[in-house]
Each structure stands twice: as structure tokens, then as C-alpha cells.
Amino acid sequence: MNWQSWSDFLTMGGYGLYVWGSYSVTLVLMVLEVALLLNRKRTARQQLRPGTAEAA
């Protein structure tokens, strides 16, 4: 085991800012991409429904 405690894990041997700065931005961007995609999918499907579709 690499870590003695939670604070040990978060400190990352003094490189916490760099390691967690990398991982957090990556996580946020990937979650954001999935959220935008699911939103786009919902919109695309709604526009197919008769009645809500824009006039052709």
C-alpha cells in the first residue's frame, strides 16, 4: 500500500496540486462531454416527434 492515510493520499508527496489538477480537469471534461451528448440526444429525439417538429 502506497498511502498511510487520507491526507497522505491527497498530498501526493507534495505534488497534490499537479496530480489532482490533472485528474479533476480530466474528470470534469469527460462528465461534461457525456452530459452535453445526452442533452443533444434528447433534443434530437424530441424534434422527431410529430407535433413538436419544426415546419418542413
Partner: protein, 249 residues
Amino acid sequence: MVSSRINWFKYASPYSFYPLAGKLVPWFSAAATICIVFGLYIGFFVAPTDAQQGEAYRIIFIHVPAAWMSMFLYLIMAFWAAMGLIFNTRLSGMMASALAPTGALFTFIALWTGALWGKPTWGTWWVWDARLTSELILLFLYFGFMALQAAIDDPRRADRAGAVLALVGAVNIPIIYFSVQWWNTLHQGASVSVTGAPTMAATMLAGMMVMAFGFWFYSFAAVLIRVRCIMLERERRNDWTAQYAERTQ
């Protein structure tokens, strides 16, 4: 008797590719989740501290896989661009358009994590060496591709213009890959190569490879969801989308 000849053009039509992509997405998503969770476990709890770089090296588990994906997705995008120009199939342009945002995402992640890794190990966030500069050009190629397609109203013309840009820009991929050999760069050479033995500990390599598979599965799930959106958006007035809408009421 099953015919041994596969009609590859069958899936070039959005009508037959749409349900196939829909079936693949859950599997790719599940595989991505499993690989990323397992990869992070190896990366933080199994792989030991690096003798030279301490814990800072743990950025490698996202930096290298993201950099690989940034180049790999561009090559697939260029492949679909070429298919579109040669065979003029509708699916090709849609695939190229669907790949670009995820490719740009991983290019940005590679640059961002590289800067955060460079500061503690090289003493600088950024340097204009061949590897970093060519990767930045890759980001601009993705942005340029998306901006060009967004600027042209007719999707088929947008596809063709984007395809030419994607193909011309593909020359940048070998430049990125071989930049650390061709020029004297601050960026280190490859730790993993096709021909030689990897120059890193087995557990570090394992974590990196599992994360690379995770990003690979993630990319394909995201791209397939996006290409399905593009199909519905572009083919809104075609019969198959109308039938689809009725089935999924």
C-alpha cells in the same frame, strides 16, 4: 448456408448503422467504466512511487492514454474523411464529424496534464519544443475542422471541406509521434514502443495500458452516441427517422 462475403456497404447507410451503434454503446460504456476504475486502482494503489519523480509521475495514467487517443482518433477521422471523398457515403462524413469533439477533448487533456506534469519535473508549464508544439497544432486542427464544418450550411459540402482539411492535417500525426526522435526535445522519448521492451515498471505499464483501453472504450461510446445524434438531426425528414420516432414514442 451463410454467405462468406460480407457486404461492408450495408452499414454505410445510416438506416442500418443507427441500430448497430445503439447496441454497441452500452457495451463500450460498461467496458470503459470497468477499465477506468481498474486502471485508477492500479495507478494509485498498486503502482509504486517513482524513484526520480516521486508521486508526480502518476499523471502518466491519464497523460499518455489521452495523448494516444488524440492521435488515434485523428487517424480514424482522416480515414472516414478519405472514405467519404472516395465512396461518397453518407455515414463517412457523419463519423468524421462525430470523432472531432472527442479527439479535441483528449488533445486538450494531453496538453493540460502535460503542463501540470512539466511544471514540477521540468520547471516550466510550457516550452515550444517539437512534441508540444505539434500537439498544440493538432488541437487547432480539430478546432479548425469543427469551425469549418459549422460555417457551411449544406452538410454534404461541409463534409467534403472538412474531409480535405482532415486529410491534409493528417501529416501532423507522424510529426507528433516521431518528434522526440527527429528533434532534440525537452519532452522525453517514448516509454513504450512497438519494437523494444518498455522502459518502465510492469505495474506502471499495466495501469497505463488499462487506462488506455478505458479511454478507447469511452471514446467509442461517446462517438457512437454523437453519430446517432447527427443521424437524427440530418435525416430528420427521411422515412426511417420518422418510423423510428413512431416506434420510440
